[in-house]
C-alpha cells in the first residue's frame, strides 16, 4: 500500500516510442498490492512490453477476474479498455469481446486460483477455441487474498507459512496448456524481466491463444523456506530451456554471428521470435518434443522457463469460424441488423 501517487516526473534521457509516448504513459494507478509482490513486477514488464511495441493504449483491452492477480490490469495502461469480471470468468469475457472486436490486443491477467480452481473449465475452453489473446497466469501457489491457503498449483511437499506440507497433486498450467493444444506456451518469472518482456511481446504479437505462466512470488504468504514458489527457490531451481528474443517487424536484425543452435520463427505479421541456444534434441515447434522436454526437466525438480512451444501457423477462433474480417464495432447498423426480411430469408434456408 502506498499513499502518495507516483511523482509525475520522468527521466528526460528516456525517449519516446514510435507513437511519441513515454514509458510512463503506459502506467496505471499506483499499486495497492503488498510491497514486493511479484505481480507488480509483471505489471512493470507488461508496461515495458506495450511501450516497446508502440501499441496505442486505446487498442488494448485488459481483462481479469478475481484475486490479487485481478487487480493487476488497474496498474498498467490506464487509458486502455478494461473489464474486471466474475471470479474465473475472464476467459469467457475475453472470448466475447474478441468475437465482437477482433482488432484489439487482448491481455487477460489471471491467477492460479482464478484459472486453476474456480475458472479451470473456462481456461481450458479458451485454449480449445484458440482465442486470439495473451493469457498471463500470475502463479504464486497460494490464495493470498484469503491469507495464504494452498492453491491448486502448490507442489506436493511445499510448505505453508505455518510449516504444514501440501499433500494434493498440483495442476500444472503449462502441461495443461500443452496438452490442450495452446498455440503458444511459455513460462516466465516475475524476478527476471529480461526473459519476461520478450515473452510478453511475442505473446502479444502471436496470433491465437498465447499462454504465459509467470511464477510471481507472494511475498507475504509464500516466500519462505519450504515454499517452491519463492524468489529464492525459483532462482535456484529455474531452468531456462530456450532463451528467446522478440524481433519486431521492420527492425533490423543485428544478431551476433551464428552460434549453432539458433532458430528463428517468423510470426504471422512478419515479426520474429528468435530462439537462442536450442538444445539439439528439442524442437520448440513440435508439441510432443516440447512436452517431453518439459516433463523430463520437471522430474529433475527444475522450474522450466522460456518459450516452450510455438505454433506459428496463425490460425485463431475467427479463422475456425469463418467470421467477418471487419470488427462488429466498425460495421454499420444496417449490416449488423439487416432487417426482418433478411431474417426471414435466412430462416427459409433451414426449412
Amino acid at each position: 500500500m502506498t499513499y502518495i501517487p507516483k511523482p509525475a516526473v520522468r527521466h528526460p534521457g528516456l525517449g519516446a516510442n514510435e507513437l511519441g509516448l513515454h514509458m510512463r504513459d503506459y502506467e496505471g494507478t499506483i499499486s495497492t498490492l503488498c510491497a514486493g509482490c511479484g505481480h507488480d513486477s509483471v505489471t512493470a514488464a507488461v508496461i515495458q512490453a506495450f511501450y516497446e511495441l508502440s501499441i496505442p493504449p486505446h487498442r488494448i483491452a485488459k481483462m481479469s477476474g478475481i484475486g490479487c492477480s485481478a487487480k493487476t490490469p488497474a496498474y498498467f495502461v490506464e487509458q486502455a479498455h478494461g473489464f474486471n469480471g466474475v471470479h474465473g470468468r475472464m476467459p469467457a469475457l475475453a472470448t466475447g469481446a474478441n468475437a465482437a472486436n477482433r482488432d484489439l490486443y487482448y491481455i487477460g491477467i489471471s491467477g492460479d486460483g482464478d484459472s486453476l480452481s474456480i475458472g479451470l473449465g473456462q481456461f481450458c475452453h479458451a485454449i480449445r477455441r484458440n482465442v486470439n489473446m495473451l493469457y498471463v497466469l500470475e502463479n504464486n501457489g497460494v490464495y493470498g487474498l484469503t491469507k495464504g491457503q494452498f492453491s491448486a498449483s502448490a507442489d506436493i511437499g511445499s510448505r505453508s507459512k505455518r510449516g504444514v506440507p501440501n499433500k494434493s497433486e498440483p495442476i500444472d498450467p503449462v502441461a495443461l496448456a500443452l496438452t490442450l493444444g495452446a498455440t503458444f506456451v511459455a513460462r516466465g518469472f516475475s524476478g527476471d524481466k529480461q526473459q519476461l518482456i520478450p515473452l510478453l511481446k511475442a505473446g502479444l504479437m502471436h496470433k491465437g491463444f498465447a499462454f504465459i505462466d509467470v511464477i510471481s512470488p507472494c511475498v507475504t504468504f509464500n516466500d519462505h523456506v519450504g515454499s517452491t514458489k519463492s524468489y529464492l527457490y525459483t532462482r535456484h531451481h529455474g531452468h531456462e530451456l530456450v532463451p528467446v528474443d522478440f524481433v519486431p517487424i521492420r527492425s533490423e536484425i543485428s544478431a551476433p554471428s551464428n552460434n549453432g543452435g539458433r532458430t528463428s520463427i517468423t510470426m504471422h505479421d512478419g515479426s520474429m521470435v528468435r530462439f537462442r541456444k536450442v538444445p539439439e534434441d528439442y524442437d520448440p515447434t513440435d508439441r510432443l518434443s516440447a512436452y517431453e522436454h518439459y516433463r523430463s526437466l520437471q522430474n529433475r525438480g527444475e522450474v522450466v522457463t522460456g518459450l516452450l512451444y510455438l505454433d506459428p501457423s496463425g490460425e485463431d477462433m475467427h479463422d475456425d469460424n469463418a467470421t467477418t474480417s471487419t470488427p462488429l464495432s466498425e460495421m454499420s447498423h444496417e449490416d449488423l441488423c439487416p432487417g426482418s426480411e433478411q431474417m426471414d430469408a435466412l430462416m427459409e434456408e433451414f426449412r
Binding site: 516526473v9 528516456l14 510512463r24 514486493g36 516475475s190 524468489y231
Partner: protein, 599 residues
Amino acid sequence: MQPTDVSNPDYYHKVVDCQWGCPAHTNVPEYIRLIANGRYTDSYWLNRSSNVFPGILGRTCDRPCEPACRRTRIDGKPVAICRLKRVAADLRDPTDDRLPEIPVVKNGKRIALVGAGPASLTVCNDLMPLGYECVIFEALDRPGGLMRTNIPAFRLPWQVLDEEIDMILDMGVKVHYSTRIESMKALLEEGYDAVFVGTGAPKGKELNIPGRQEAADNIHIGIEWLESVHFGHVDSIGERVLVIGVGNTAMDCCRSSKRLGGVDIKVMARKSRPYFKASPWELEDAEEELVEIVENYSPKRFVLEDGKLVGMEFELVSWHEDEESGRLKATVHGTEILPCDDVILAIGQDNAFPWIERDIGIEFNHWEMPEVDRTTFMTSREGIFVGGDAAWGPENIIWAVEHGHQAAISIHNYCQGLSLTEDRPPQDHNLISAKMGMHEWAYSNDYNPSARQKMQHVELVRRFEELSIEVEMGFDAEQTAREVERCLNCDIQTHFEAKLCIECDACIDICPVHCLTITVNGDEPDLRSRLMAPAENLTQDLMVSEGLPQTGRVMVKDEDLCVHCGLCAERCPTAAWDMRKFELLIPYAGQEAACPSQV
C-alpha cells in the same frame, strides 16, 4: 565497481547538491524544512551556524547552491534557496538570542585582523567564544567591508547589515575604525599572537585607453564610485551613462546610476551573453529597470570635446574560438561612437598589498599576491593568515565566510600549539532513519510540481524615489509555502542494505525516474551504459551495492535525478531500502565535528 562506501561523509554529502555546492556547506534542506514548519528562528540559527550572515546572504549571496540544485535537472528551475534564507531571517524572533556565551576570563591570546569584512568578522565569530581577544583594524569608519560599500542599499538595507555585524562585534571585538594599516612590520611589532589579513580586493581595474587621463573627471572606477555613493559623497550622475563591464559590480553601478539621475544607461559588454560574469538574476533585475545591455562592443577610446567627455568609441567585434589555443579571438567589424556624460569602469578588481613589506618572511608570487596555503590559510610566515578576497582574488561573501571558518581553525590550532594540518578536526555525519510509520516519513516526501516562485519587486516608478528602497519584497506566506515544497529533500538519503534484498524488483518498478537497476557488476563506464535510464551526468555518482544474496548481482543507483520520494523504501518488503536523514557535522575552531541542528 567496488561497493560504494557510504560511511565516508563525502558520499552522501555530495548527493545534497546544494550543501556540497555551498562553500560553507549550509544545511539547506534542513533549514527549508524548518521554514516549512514555521520554525523561522530555528532555521535562522541553523543557517547562522555555517554561513554567519543569513540576512545579508539571503539578499546578496552569489548562490552557488542554486545552479547545483537537483530541482534544476528535474524541471529546469532550482529551488529559490537564497530567498527562503531571507524568509527565515525576516521572520525569526529577534529576541531569541542563541549566540554563544563569551568567556569573561580570556585565554590570553590576542589576534589582530586587518579589514572588517566578512572574512575577518567570521574569524572573530569563531574565536571570541573560545576566549580570544580579537582586534580589528578598519580603514573606513564603519564595519562590513565590501558588503557595505559595494552593495547598494536598494539590495541590502543597512539595518540588516548592521544587525548581523553587531551580533559579532557585540561579542567584545575591539575595532579601530578609520585606521588604515600602513605597515605589516609595525603591526607585528605590537606582539599579536596571530594576524589575519582580510582586506579584500579593494582596487578597481583601470582601462588605459586614449582619453582616460584627459576625461578623468567623468570616468569613475566602479567600486570606488559605489563606495562614494554609499557615503553620500556622490549624489548625482549624468543623464547618459556607459557602464563598462558586465559583472555583478556593473549591475550595481548601472542600477545605482538609475537612482542618481541617469536616464539612458547602457552596460557595455565585450563579449556575448553566455560569457557574462554577472549572475543571471542580477542581469534580469537590471534589465527590468530598463538598463540596456549591449553585447560585443569593445572599448577603443574616450571621445572628448573641449576637454570634456562627450562619448566613447567602441570596436564592434565578433568572437570565434581559436582552433589551436581554444581561446576566444575577436574579429573587428567596424567602430561606433556612443555619446555619454559619464563612464563607470566595472571590469574587475585587484588585490593590493603595498603595506606588506616584502622582507618579513611572507612570500609573494609573480602576481604580487602572497602565497597562501589552500587548507590552512597561512602564509609562508607562521602566524600570519589571509582569507576572503585578499587570499586569491575576488570571490563572494559566502567564500569569505568559509575562509574565515577555516582560518579560525588554523589560528586556534596555531595559538594552542597544535598542528594546522594533522590536528584539523575532520567532518563527520549522522545518518538516522526518517521512517515514522507504515507510510509516514519525517519529511514531506510527495513531489510537488509547483513552478519556482517569482520574487515580487517594488513597482518600477516607486523604487527610484529613494536610493535605499529595497527592491525585492521577499516571499509572502503563500509563496513561501509553495517554494519550500519544491525542495526535494536530498539530504533524506536512499540507504541500501544489500544483505536484506530479495531482488523482487519492487523498488525498480516504482521509481518514477528509473534511477535504480539490478544488474551484474562491471566497471563504471560499462555500468553507466547498462542502467534502466541513461546515466550520462558524470558529475553525479553511481551508488553500487555489495553483491546481492540471491544472485550475486548488484543494486546500482544513479544519484542524478532521484527525487527522494521514498517510494523505493515504501515498496521494499524487507526494508533493504530505508530513507535516512543525513546530517553533515562540520567542525569549527576549537570543536570536534559539531552538530548544527542542535542549536
